[in-house]
Structure formats: structure tokens, C-alpha cells
Symmetry: C2
Subunit: 274 residues, 2 copies
């Protein structure tokens, strides 16, 4: 494990806004804030962070290795309840479900397996390379905007750095390829830990926009595999959509840390804009 949380994390925006309180056996309460909104709806990766915190508290293993979220209905800023059920506790992994509810209605259903992430010196065989990007300090901070070009609250939470000319769709010049690559970090400098990885992979614009197909892209299901604990600092991300079929699309994301290590990959099934 690389380093503990730096002192400033206690007050980070992500930690504050995903904080939960245990109110019973496997039962938690938290608050969905409006600071992670994209248009009128809180971002899915942010919501998963709240649920993962409850799972991390309830399960005996430390790190999320895989988490799948099924987005059942829209969430909104306000109180949230999380009910965790432990499905199985094994020697090296533990699996649990977190139901996230508002007004007694489940809006997000998480299933996750926790375990212990590989140590920093663990061997690997990786046939994949991080995207080639100019250093983040040489790039301007990207604007996070809604499909119609208006700034969105979640844009203030992230510091995204894109190569020149990206995103094309935002300049009215979609690149024609549903893919992008860029740097990610939290705007307040909080380092990304495993719990925050779903927020990273769900933190970019829908890359289908680069096909000129621009509109609301609701996530139906998002699965994230976390493979290593990121080192502190910037993350390098690649996001790709290869198949838009009959109103549905997948979006894949890959994440590398500042040391060039592969950290995570994700895939979501979403509705394509009409």
C-alpha cells in the first residue's frame, strides 16, 4: 500500500460529500449534495462513492476490486439511506450488496467484491500502454459543460486536462472518433483512492459526443475493476465507445497513475442520445 491519506483529505469535497453515518447493522445515512450535478442529476460515479463507503465499512476486506452499479431511477440532492447485505465473506475476498434509497425507494443497486489490492511491488504482465499526453502543466484546465455547452457544477470538482483541440464537439467540430484521453485529478488536490475510482471513470464527457451525437446519455449499468492503488497525483485516462447499436452504447475507460501503472478499467452500458 502506498502512503496513507494526506492530512487535507479529511476536508476534501469528495470525502465530505460521500460521508456516511452508521445507524444500524448494515444501515447507513448520508447526503447527496448538488455539487456533483450534471444538469439536474448527480453524477453516477459520485453516487457509487457513497455506496462504496458503506460497503467498505460493512465488509471485512479493505479495497473494492470490482463493483457493478445498476441505476434504477434518478437520484436528487438530499438525504440518502444505504442498506448493505453481506453475501459472502471468504478468506481473501468478501462480496456485498448496497441498496441506495431516497424516500424508501431504491435508485442505485451496487454489487461489489472487496479484497486486498496488490502491493506496489506486485508483478504484472500488461499488454496496454497509457495514452501519450503532453504534461498536464502544459495544458489548460478543461471545461465541464452540459450537452448544450453550459457549465455544470461537477466541473468545479475536477481538474481535467485535454490535449489541444479536445474536446472537438465543444467547438462544434466533433472528431468523428468516439474516444478521448486526458488527465484527471480532483480540483481540491485530494488524491484518488480506490473508492473514488468510479468517480474518475464516470468523470469525462460521453465520448459518443465526438460522433456528433450529443444529448443525454443515462448510465444503465457501470462496472469498474480496480487493479491497483493509485500513486498520488494526476491520473491518465482513456475513454472509448466502439459500439452504438439500436439506442444503446457501451463506454470503456482505462486509468493509469502518475507512475504509469495500470490502475483500473470500466465499462458502462448507457442509452445513446436520440
Amino acid at each position: 500500500m502506498t502512503g496513507g491519506p494526506p492530512a487535507q483529505e479529511a476536508a476534501s469535497e469528495f470525502d465530505t460529500d460521500t460521508a456516511i453515518e452508521r445507524v444500524g447493522d448494515g444501515r447507513y445515512r448520508g447526503t447527496v449534495t448538488d455539487r456533483w450535478d450534471v444538469l439536474a442529476a448527480p453524477n453516477g460515479g459520485y453516487l457509487m462513492g457513497i455506496g462504496l463507503r458503506a460497503l467498505a465499512d460493512a465488509l471485512p476486506q479493505p479495497d473494492p476490486l470490482t463493483v457493478t452499479g445498476h441505476f434504477l431511477t434518478a437520484a436528487r440532492p438530499g438525504p440518502v439511506e444505504v442498506a448493505v447485505e453481506t453475501l459472502r465473506t471468504g478468506r481473501t475476498v468478501a462480496t456485498g450488496v448496497a441498496r441506495m434509497l431516497q424516500d424508501g425507494r431504491e435508485f442505485l443497486h451496487l454489487t461489489a467484491m472487496f479484497g486486498e489490492l496488490p502491493s506496489a511491488d506486485a508483478a504484472e504482465t500488461v499488454a496496454n500502454a497509457p495514452p501519450d499526453l503532453p504534461p498536464p502543466d502544459d495544458l489548460p484546465r478543461g471545461k465541464a459543460v452540459s450537452p448544450d455547452g453550459r457549465p455544470v457544477p461537477i466541473g468545479e470538482r475536477f481538474d481535467l486536462r485535454f490535449p489541444p483541440g479536445v474536446p472537438g464537439w465543444l467547438r462544434g467540430e466533433p472528431t468523428g472518433e468516439a474516444a478521448t484521453a486526458g488527465w484527471f485529478r480532483f480540483a481540491d488536490g485530494r488524491d484518488v483512492d480506490p473508492i473514488a475510482v468510479p468517480q474518475v471513470v464516470d468523470g469525462f464527457f460521453p465520448v459518443v459526443f465526438e460522433l456528433g451525437v450529443i444529448g443525454w446519455v443515462p448510465t444503465l449499468e457501470l462496472t469498474v475493476h480496480i487493479r491497483r492503488r493509485p500513486s498520488p497525483g494526476w491520473l491518465r485516462c482513456r475513454v472509448t465507445t466502439r459500439h452504438v447499436v439500436g439506442g444503446y452504447l457501451e463506454e470503456d475507460a482505462e486509468v493509469w497513475d502518475a507512475d504509469g501503472r495500470f490502475i483500473a478499467q470500466s465499462r458502462q452500458l448507457a442509452r445513446a442520445p436520440r
Copy 2:
């Protein structure tokens, strides 16, 4: 939708061995047979077929669009109970959980969203090509064997056709690339429907074997996105592992049908052989 089930399907091995009986509200019984064993354990894709049948019966939507299985502990041939809970029924999709139990103990936990697959003429934008393979009739039937080279029962259920020289590991000459491509169909000629797609993507040898890393590769979590209903006949598949990190690996599979249409993609998290 392309065609109804041909007459022989009623007696197909897959249909017979995934058959379920409704015994109550959201409760089903079936039998895990030993015909889909890999060594001593039933194949995960086969087990998911039983659970998907229960979900298909319980949910109001016809087709699985995404399904995630968490493999909690080993199953064995014998009776199985399936308990389905409907999480949400919407206008176009419905989401449910299927718990699969033996002796009252849950061994496989499925979460799935059902809906209606795109019609055959639905528009698509696909930036991906099926693997280039010689026609299946020009290739010998592949052998399905355990890591130590012994035939496994599930090998008799499938007709797999590989290009010359594949698999390399089986000849003691791993190719050095954790990837393969080949043709799939059921040995008894049953066409693949959406319920059987998890069986297809979990039907190949673990491609990490081509790195010379050969042994037991237990699936921990498998997510399958089904994007179209396959046309009858052979399926073209590509299977890839790109990241083996500290004892875990992912395996991705892609499936095209006989018409060259993209049908499905999957990703599993598994333990790497030691």
C-alpha cells in the same frame, strides 16, 4: 427479431440442462448437470443460463441486456434453487436479482437488466471488426481440455473451431499473446439466443494460458452486455486478456454472428493461475 426457435431446440442439451420449474412467487428449481463441467466444477456461463431463465420468467421484459454474476463459492451437479427479486420495472427496462442456492447456500448472485434487443434493421455505428478466420468447415473441431490436457465434459457440448496452430499452449508452445479467436456453436446445433450468450463468452480456454501461465482460473465476476439477437449459425469470437496484475486478471470476449453483426461483449475478473 430473427426467427423463432427451431423445433429441435426443445430437446437441446443447453435447454434441457438449464430448465427451471416455477415453485412459487419468484422461486424456481432446476438441476445443475455434470455435462458442463470443467474439471470438477460446472462452467460459470452454464450456471448463469439457469439464473437467466428464472429472471426471464419473472421479469416483464423479454431479453437480457446486461447481466453481472458474482461467483461466491463452487457449485456442483445437483438440485439448484433460484430466488428472483424484481428491483424495478420501468417502461422499457426491468432490473432484477437472481440468487442461486444449493443446500440453502448462495453460490452465484446475478444482477440483470432486461429489455428489448434492437430489431434486425436497427441502425448501428460500430468501430470494431470481427476476427478474420478461415471458414469453420475448413477447420477441425477443437479439443476442450483441462489445464493438464485431459478432455473435459463441456468439450462435448461445444463445437469450437480454431485457426491452424491454435491453441498454442496445448501443443506446449504458448503464443506469448493472451488472445485467441475462433468459431463457436453448440455441438447439437442449437442456435445461440440471448440467454445462452454468457455460455458462449465463458466457453473458451482462459487465454492467459497463451502466456504459459497455465492452471485454474476461477471467475470472480462476469459481466455480459448483449447488444443484438444473433442470427442462426456459427458465432465468431475474440477473447483477450491485457492486464495480469498481482494475481488477478480480466478476460474480455467479443461475439459476432454469422451475418457479421456485433452481438455481445463481456469482461470477467478472475484469479490468475499461481
